[in-house]
Amino acid sequence: MATNQQQVLISPAELAYLHASLSLSPEPIRPDGRSSTQFRPLVAETDILPGTNGSARICFADGSEAIVGVKVEVEKTKPKAGAMINPEEGKEEKGDTGVEGGGGFDDDKKNYSNDWVELAVDIPGHRDDDPGTAFLGNMILEALLEDGELVKRLRINSRFHWKMYLDVLLISQPLSYPLPLLSLTTHLALLSTRLPCLISEGDEDPMFDDDWAASTNLYPPRGEKSKLSTSRPPITLLVMSVGHSILFDPTYEELAVADAVLAVSVSEEPTKPVPQDTIATPKQAKDRALRLLSIRSIDPPSRITPPGVPNGLNPATNGEVAGLQPKHAEARTAEVPATEGVWKAPRGGVSRSVLSAMVFKALEKGGVADEVLDGLQGVEMASEILE
């Protein structure tokens, strides 16, 4: 469980209002008027950093902004520790490469290593080794590695691979928990990543085409002929619950009244590679099967919010000015019964049904993840048209 323990300075009266407004049924009323599954409008563009293989920038309307740069370099693949001891296995690996040329899809997993991807998150005002920052980075990386598709794409041949460095940079102050912003930006940057065209063959030392125009997309756009599967990079969504309401892309103040917050990583179910002679029809592209990669619960800041004092226990509202009996002085910290209109920090867990509803809402067909993936796909296409 992640700790997001920064003191929130929001008064108990505001918290009580937010909580009441967000837990209204059937449809909650969010302070900015969005519907429960709606994201904040965002400005997105790709290919903004000329020195990188792929980059993207996303800005939310509230001013938070993130940049992701992707850099790759050729690295010699370390032979497996097992292969050193047992030379036959090394031979076996070499044998695999023959198959790889044709399929590239269902070859041996042992060939790939999660060390091929490195990710660094930088958040202003936080140290690099801050637990919060490290956790954010790990959550994004976990989804990428768990998907498995990214690492497969980084293989050049049995002796060489691409080493990928992902630099995730939040430019603005972290106004709300920046996970969705960083994850969406990473997704876009990976979509825009291009690798130099390989001209050497087989297990030779890799040689590349100097012409950048000949470079290939790491994630080829749909409809393009490719031996790789048509999957997309995973995305991580932030989902929170208040009462029975389930909200996506929560803001800072909404998180301050959350019962539970989940980071749900979703990717597409990899489809079989498109045969060389057919081109994926739009209908095929639309039929996307979503796959759940990971769920992490995030400790919401609501747990450490100050409780409100009911009027009946508040000496300042009883008119007892100097009535400073010890029992009143303790009233702030003592257990007070839940009163309507008085904020009380949530305690304990949430019910299983709410949790499953949160995950289901993210994953369902035509649900949030589906629409977000479509939206981001649109950004990539738009930038290609501009070129």
Partner: protein, 352 residues
């Protein structure tokens, strides 16, 4: 559609029209060189050549011509060179050159109505964030005691200081005085002021926030909307001069908009009846009222985002337009004012 993705655009020219320049051109016919000519003659800063509408950065030379006088946000070097000291837009009034900052903090003035948040509780006073360079101070002696009792503050009150306000609480207050270093002293010695509840908070840039946007000081900073759309309860809007905005459900006889006809001698009676000055318990708020409060907040956000003036007139106009827009554009009435709808609203309000 859960996600709206906007194409990035080139930086738009500032929304505010240079009213000084237009009035100036008529009055300044014989007044020698025009600033536009002067600035295009400058060597190194092509962007300031565009009629002074560009953005200058601190240290950038605005002019080397000795005919100009320096105003706010500028500095005179070598008796004729004027440099900018803040990042913002150049404006001129006759021969006075000044730079209005893009972003500025609120500079407190005596008598301003401000919305603030308690940051720190000290022995005899609170430290209040009012978006100013320094936190304002609210002394224990400058608040009303519950029940309106008038007496000296004792040690007992000091011990119970968190019963009145504690960290994070929002309050509405007035600037009573200024200290030598620019820090403000607040007071809440009126039933109009005190702790805020039953509503939503929103921070926009305040007065001095450059580009003509933000909350402007006006005749009324607080008002009540008696019959909002959808048949909810009355709603109060409090625009703090410092750019902090509070929108709450109106409770009869309470809060900033209450008709305080009570004299000093009846203060205690009134205070006893409205004993909720320090309450942090919300009243029951119905769905319709909640919705309209959120809609009003959306309107203020749009005004702030598009650099429009925020005052009673604009907020009320914006609110009426937002209600109309929601009825026109959506099949299911939606109070969300982001993306395209915000654009439309801002266009209507700015009259373009």
């Amino acid at each position: 559609m859960p996600i709206i993705i906007i194409q990035p655009q080139a930086v738009a020219p500032p929304m505010i029209k240079d009213s000084d320049a237009s009035s100036d051109s008529s009055s300044d016919n014989g007044g020698g060189a025009d600033i536009d000519i002067d600035m295009t003659g400058m060597e190194s800063h092509p962007q300031s050549g565009s009629g002074g509408a560009g953005i200058v950065t601190p240290g950038q030379i605005i002019t080397t011509d000795s005919q100009w006088m320096r105003g706010h946000g500028t500095q005179l070097v070598n008796s004729s060179t004027i440099k900018a000291t803040v990042a913002g837009t150049v404006s001129r009034t006759n021969k006075l050159l000044s730079v209005s900052a893009m972003r500025a903090r609120y500079i407190p003035e005596v008598g301003d109505l401000v919305v603030g948040r308690i940051i720190e509780v000290q022995a005899k006073r609170w430290r209040v964030d009012v978006n100013a360079p320094q936190n304002a101070a609210l002394p224990l002696s400058s608040i009303n005691l519950p029940g309106g009792i008038l007496r000296k503050r004792t040690e007992t009150d000091e011990l119970a200081i968190r019963n009145f306000f504690s960290e994070g609480d929002l309050l509405v207050a007035e600037v009573q005085g200024l200290l030598g270093d620019g820090g403000a002293m607040l007071h809440t010695r009126s039933l109009k002021f005190g702790k805020l509840r039953n509503g939503l908070f929103l921070a926009v840039k305040g007065q001095g926030g450059g580009h003509g946007g933000g909350v402007v000081k006006s005749r009324r900073q607080t008002w009540t909307i008696d019959s909002p759309e959808g048949g909810g309860k009355a709603i109060d809007v409090i625009l703090g001069v410092n750019g902090y905005v509070w929108i709450q459900m109106h409770v009869h006889g309470e809060g900033v908009t209450a008709e305080t006809k009570v004299g000093l001698n009846r203060l205690d009676e009134a205070a006893a009846s409205a004993g909720n000055v320090y309450s942090s318990q919300n009243d029951r708020i119905d769905r319709e009222t909640t919705r309209e409060i959120a809609r009003l907040r959306g309107v203020v956000t749009v005004l702030a985002e598009y650099g429009l003036r925020i005052d009673e007139e604009m907020v009320m106009r914006g609110y009426r337009e937002a209600v109309e827009l929601a009825k026109e554009m959506d099949a299911v009435e939606d109070i969300y004012l982001g993306g395209e709808k915000g654009d439309t609203l801002a266009r209507i309000l700015s009259g373009r």
